[in-house]
């Protein structure tokens, strides 16, 4: 599986994602600097990592979403290339208009850093087909701005279209409908606040995140 991980100044999970992708897919991803104006040919996945791109200045993900490389990401996403945004990556994808809604300051105003229980709300996506529908899993979160909000009409639409991929089982950050991750209308772009790359091998003490990457790999092999 040919993948690329975007690298923004201030991001701190790009290497975690690189390691997870290399170990699970067997191929090292290309690390792509944010000032690049193009992406490698024939990518099977574009991964937008977590961390604090541009120090979260202005709004989380706002600066990264306007960086040169994102134009190529928007074009690739429109052509159907899978795009995965984790944590700050989710914020970047909403700011770039690839996903609806916005990630606001956590309702409790605290930075939340712990493993949280999730339910798999939709296992019919290329990112979640390795999970059971409604399955309870645990994935770590670490964020200050994970409170997903959208207007009532948008929420009704994404719920109606089954675009909620993951939901918090507990109230974690005040997210509307406890949404932890959503896909776009075409199903090839997933944004999620929890970090699957931090629950991807035995040394992490939790491998619930591993199946997300395996789902993608499986989707490619059967495509």
């Amino acid at each position: 599986m040919k993948s690329a991980v975007l690298v923004f100044p201030g991001s701190n999970c790009d290497r975690d994602l690189q390691v997870a992708l290399e170990r699970i897919t067997g191929v090292a991803p290309t690390m792509v600097w944010h000032r690049e104006t193009g992406l490698p040919e024939g990518l099977d996945l574009i991964a937008v990592p977590g961390g604090f791109s541009y120090g979260d200045y202005l709004r989380s993900g706002a600066m990264a979403a306007r960086s040169p490389v994102m134009q190529s990401v928007v074009e690739a996403a429109a052509k159907g290339t899978p795009v995965l945004g984790i944590c700050n990556g989710f914020q970047v994808l909403t700011e770039a208009g690839l996903l609806p809604g916005a990630l606001m300051r956590n309702a409790g105003l605290s930075f939340v850093c712990r493993s949280v229980p999730l339910t798999v709300a939709n296992n019919q996506t290329i990112f979640t087909r390795g999970y059971e529908a409604g399955e309870a899993i645990t994935i770590p979160v670490a964020h200050h701005d994970g409170n997903f909000q959208a207007d009532a009409e948008t929420l009704a639409r994404i719920e109606g279209e089954g675009r909620v991929a993951f939901r918090y089982a507990d109230r974690v950050n005040g997210s509307a409908n406890d949404i932890a991750g959503i896909v776009n209308d075409a199903g090839n772009v997933l944004g999620m606040m929890p970090h699957p790359e931090r629950a991807a091998e035995p040394a992490h003490g939790n491998e619930d995140g591993r199946r997300l990457f395996e789902s993608l790999l499986g989707a490619l092999q059967t495509a």
Binding site: L58, M63, T94, G101, R105, N147
Partner: protein, 77 residues
Amino acid sequence: MKARVLVTLKNGVLDPQGKAIHHALEGLGFAGVNDVRAGKLIELDVDESVDDGAIEDMCRKLLANTVIENFRIERVA
């Protein structure tokens, strides 16, 4: 010349920071504050040639997230 951009959350959008400030004001004993909304002030020092249309474009493209925020432009002499 200077222009100020005031970015505020849209009505109806939950404002946890505003709520926390409100709570702190009450804790200090200030009565009669009905609600608090926190926003951002962005001050731009721009050439005379930069008109309001250009600044509005800056707001829509970067300075405000129009999904959740409103913006207002003020010219400062």
